[in-house]
């Protein structure tokens, strides 16, 4: 696995009685954007902290850029940048100072890129970090990270405080660095974000890898939600193959459809003269429900539902 940016196998980490990671596997190829998905508390941040050498693994194999994240931490950190999900900065420093400090300690940053990113993210670098909102603190970390030209970006829910406009800017940044050949590990609990950027994704739940592959591969496992209104009644819809959770009320219906049945359903609906149709892409929630529906606790369902919006 020489060309892998990250190779994790059988990684286990416990905190007292709690098992955060249980024989977890993760493989990220060099140059790809790898989506790292899972509900809150699944072990995403723990994995990233182990990759950063902030936490020590109990068991398992971890190779990061060909080195050991615990023993070679300093050398590896020159080659990577990290954006935490919850950015904590020094209240008395300004945003600009924090950007420079973190960049400089990483091994230097590109001042032109820094200026450009501050402009694009609309950050006021003269404000004290104590006055920044969560989103603005996140911008500081993001700008500092992307101003450094490194091989690997470890991004832990980097956009959780950004507004949609800034989200777009962030996505452009990720595309810029991958175009230059860098690797990105993007942790998120929002499938849409990963969908927009990711080449491959790994799904983690309860500290274990439950799914890994390209988005197309995984989308086969998901269903599309459709809500439709037609001129003629929708009798007989429930009898079609590949449909689930069908609710029909005269000329209105809501249902979920498997990818393979999508074409047939479309044709069937067309005969009944469609007045309005909304289809929602598969969400992380459904991905989870589909595979683990019975085993998900109510809290987890609520959690995932909220995360998937």
């Amino acid at each position: 696995m020489t060309d892998a940016a990250i190779h994790v196998a059988g990684l286990t980490k416990t905190f007292g009685p709690v098992t955060a990671l249980d024989r977890f596997d993760l493989d990220v190829a060099t140059g790809e954007v790898h989506g790292f998905l899972g509900p809150n508390g699944a072990g995403k941040s723990t994995t990233i902290r182990i990759l950063l050498g902030l936490l020590r693994r109990d068991r398992g194999e971890v190779v990061l850029l060909g080195g050991d994240p615990w023993h070679d931490a300093v050398a590896l950190h020159r080659r990577l940048a990290y954006v935490p999900g919850d950015v904590h900065l020094w209240p008395s420093l300004t945003g600009g100072e924090a950007i420079d400090l973190l960049g400089e300690l990483r091994g230097g940053l590109d001042q032109r890129r820094r200026a450009e990113l501050i402009e694009r993210f609309r950050l006021d670098p003269t404000k004290r970090c104590s006055t920044y909102s969560k989103g603005n603190r996140q911008k500081v970390a993001i700008i500092s990270a992307f101003s450094s030209r490194v091989e690997l970006y470890l991004l832990d829910e980097p956009t959780s405080g950004l507004d949609p406009l800034m989200d777009t800017v962030f996505q452009a940044c990720v595309r810029d660095v991958t175009a230059e050949g860098s690797t990105v590990l993007l942790s998120s609990h929002i499938l849409a974000e990963v969908e927009a950027l990711g080449d491959r994704i790994t799904i983690i739940r309860d500290g274990r890898r439950v799914e890994s592959g390209t988005l197309t591969e995984l989308r086969h496992l998901t269903r599309t939600s459709i809500s439709v209104a037609t001129v003629r009644p929708l009798e007989g819809l429930a009898a079609l193959a590949g449909l689930h959770d069908v609710e029909v009320e005269g000329t209105h219906a809501r249902f979920e459809v498997e990818p393979d049945a999508l074409g047939a359903v479309q044709r069937w609906l067309a005969d009944r003269e469609v007045l309005a149709l909304t289809s929602s892409p598969p969400t992380l929630q459904q991905l989870f429900l589909r595979h683990y529906g019975e085993r998900l606790t109510e809290d987890e369902v609520a959690d995932v539902a909220e995360a998937a919006r």
Partner: protein, 559 residues
């Protein structure tokens, strides 16, 4: 979305006023009391213990009327003693007790009160908890009201405990009652003042700092007023000048408990407390949650070259603390140096004092012992800075700010070393400044420079070995027992103070005294300068630091 046209006509909620602005106060008060269930009782009990110790020591030192008269005639004409301790109003035991202790207790209850207010208002906002609370059914004034009620209750407890302790020592009933009420009044006043600073400042730190400087100003004003006061014909009474009346701490002393009992002074506290609380409530109405009234100035958009390294960052984070401690220590050292000349006259007022000082070292020369005692005391203060400085590491880790830093190419040892550099250099610098300030002040007052000057400087600087042992202990704690590091650090400092510096006064057995690193610092100039104990202390400090560094390199970051 076309909800605009469908929206119901806007209804104006009836303006809520009066009681509804206080909705939820009781629940918030219970929450605040629960969160402080350890902290405030510890404050109250500690103050009680301090009262017990103070009354016992004063009663022991000035047991006879003759001792007290001699004390009074020494203190009353001394400008420095008046400024440093307080005005004297008579020769009863109670009067001397008030002179000696009320200023200190006033400052302590002020600190307790302002911290409690800021903790339950401004800090709550900063952590975002207030927003959560504010969105629940809670009136606008409820959080501040709850904080004030809790703080008032804590002061009531302090006052009541004070009265009980004073009565237990058979002091007059009226004076005891007044002393407790005066102390409570000081606490209430500063609670009100902190309620205002919590509205004005942009952060909890700022609010604490601003309120803290008001406490400092109050202490300074009364020091000026008492220093400028006039000695009455009796020779044992002082009437303070007007600046004392600008300070709540001054009011407490001018209440003259046990020496005339001016009950009407309590009205001043009542007026101040009501006025400050009213202002704070008015300000609450004009302020958004989380924002201060004093705007934060913009800063540089780029990091200076000096900031772009771990040491640069550590200095930036600690420089305020270094400068603050330095200024306070230098002022204290200069005052000590200046009164060094009066020490003979002062100590002679009590045979017990002479005896106590003699236990500190072998010398017969009182000034030597005085130098040892005071420079040792300031070394403990420098150790407090060192403990605080090393605990920065833990606080940075706890606040999640170590994580982004250690994710860059900064090794953990380098990060630790950066803060330790500030602590090591800061403590040496402070002790040197302390020695120089005390020696210079002594020289200016007495005209004696030469060997006396070196005595002061040396007595201060040898303390660095003990300071570093404590710092090393905290490094080891941060490495090995991060969750307990704060408690261990401050606990060790307290133990060192009681067992080392004050231990001789409490007449503790030698093996207990030996626990404190300060006990092993050579008592220069009362004794010869011996190198062995210093080298042993330095070795212990180095060993503890190494343990801490190695342990931190091997463990998880713990938040």
């Amino acid at each position: 979305m076309t909800t605009d046209t469908l929206a119901p006509p806007e209804t104006t909620l009836p303006a809520t006023a009066g009681s509804s602005e206080l909705t939820g106060t009781v629940r918030l008060l219970r929450l605040a009391a629960r969160r402080d269930r350890i902290l405030l009782p510890v404050w109250v009990v500690s103050l009680g213990v301090l009262w017990l110790a103070s009354v016992a020591s004063i009663a022991g030192l000035y047991g006879s009327e003759a001792d007290r008269v001699q004390y009074a005639v020494t203190v009353a004409p001394s400008v420095i003693a008046r400024a440093f301790e307080g005005p004297i109003f008579g020769t009863s035991l109670g009067a001397i007790l008030m002179t000696e202790t009320f200023g200190m207790f006033g400052v302590l209850v002020a600190i307790m009160s302002l911290q409690a207010i800021v903790r339950h208002t401004r800090l709550e906002e900063e952590t975002g908890r207030a927003e959560l609370v504010g969105s629940a059914v809670v009136g606008r004034h409820a959080p501040l009201t709850a904080a004030l009620l809790l703080t008032f209750a804590a002061n009531l407890a302090v006052g009541a405990l004070t009265v009980v302790i004073l009565l237990a020592y058979d002091l007059p009933v009226a004076g005891s009652l007044l002393a407790g009420l005066l102390l409570m009044g000081v606490g209430w006043s500063f609670a009100g003042i902190a309620a205002i600073t919590a509205q004005v400042s942009a952060s909890a730190r700022g609010a604490n700092g601003l309120a803290g400087s008001v406490v400092g100003l109050a202490y300074f004003l009364r020091a000026v007023g008492d220093g400028l006061g006039e000695v009455a014909a009796s020779g044992v009474e002082v009437s303070s000048a007007w600046p004392s009346w600008l300070s709540p701490i001054g009011w407490g002393q001018q209440g003259r408990a046990f020496a005339g009992d001016r009950w009407w002074v309590l009205a001043l506290f009542a007026v101040l407390a009501v006025a400050t609380v009213a202002v704070a409530f008015a300000l609450t109405r004009h302020r958004d949650v989380g924002v201060g009234m004093r705007p934060v100035r913009p800063g540089p958009a780029h990091a200076s070259a000096a900031l772009r390294s771990p040491v640069g960052l550590a200095w930036r984070l600690q420089r305020g603390s270094v400068l603050g401690w330095s200024v306070g220590l230098v002022i204290a050292a200069a005052v000590f140096g200046a009164i060094g000349d009066e020490v003979d006259a002062f100590l002679e007022t009590s045979d017990e004092l002479v005896e106590l000082f003699a236990q500190l070292g072998g010398s017969e020369v009182l000034v030597d012992l005085f130098i040892v005692f005071l420079m040792g005391l300031l070394a403990v203060a420098v150790a407090a800075f060192a403990v605080q400085g090393v605990l920065r590491l833990r606080n940075e880790e706890l606040a999640g700010r170590a994580e982004p830093l250690l994710s860059t190419a900064v090794a953990r040892t380098r990060w630790m070393a950066s803060h330790l550099t500030v602590v090591v250099a800061g403590s040496v610098g402070m002790l040197l400044a302390v020695g120089l300030a005390a020696g210079t002040a002594y020289g200016l007052v007495t005209g004696e420079w030469g060997s006396r000057f070196t005595d002061w400087v040396l007595a201060a600087v040898v303390g660095v070995a003990a300071v570093w042992v404590l710092a090393g202990l905290v490094v080891a704690a941060v490495g090995l027992l991060p969750r307990w590091a704060t408690a261990i650090g401050w606990g060790a400092l307290g133990v060192s103070l009681v067992m080392g510096q004050l231990g001789a006064l409490f007449e503790l057995p030698q093996w207990v005294l030996n626990v404190s690193p300060f006990t092993h610092v050579p008592a220069v100039p009362a004794e010869q300068l011996e190198w062995l104990p210093l080298l042993v202390l330095l070795a212990v400090a180095a060993g503890l630091t190494t343990i801490g560094l190695v342990a931190l390199r091997r463990r998880d970051l713990v938040t």
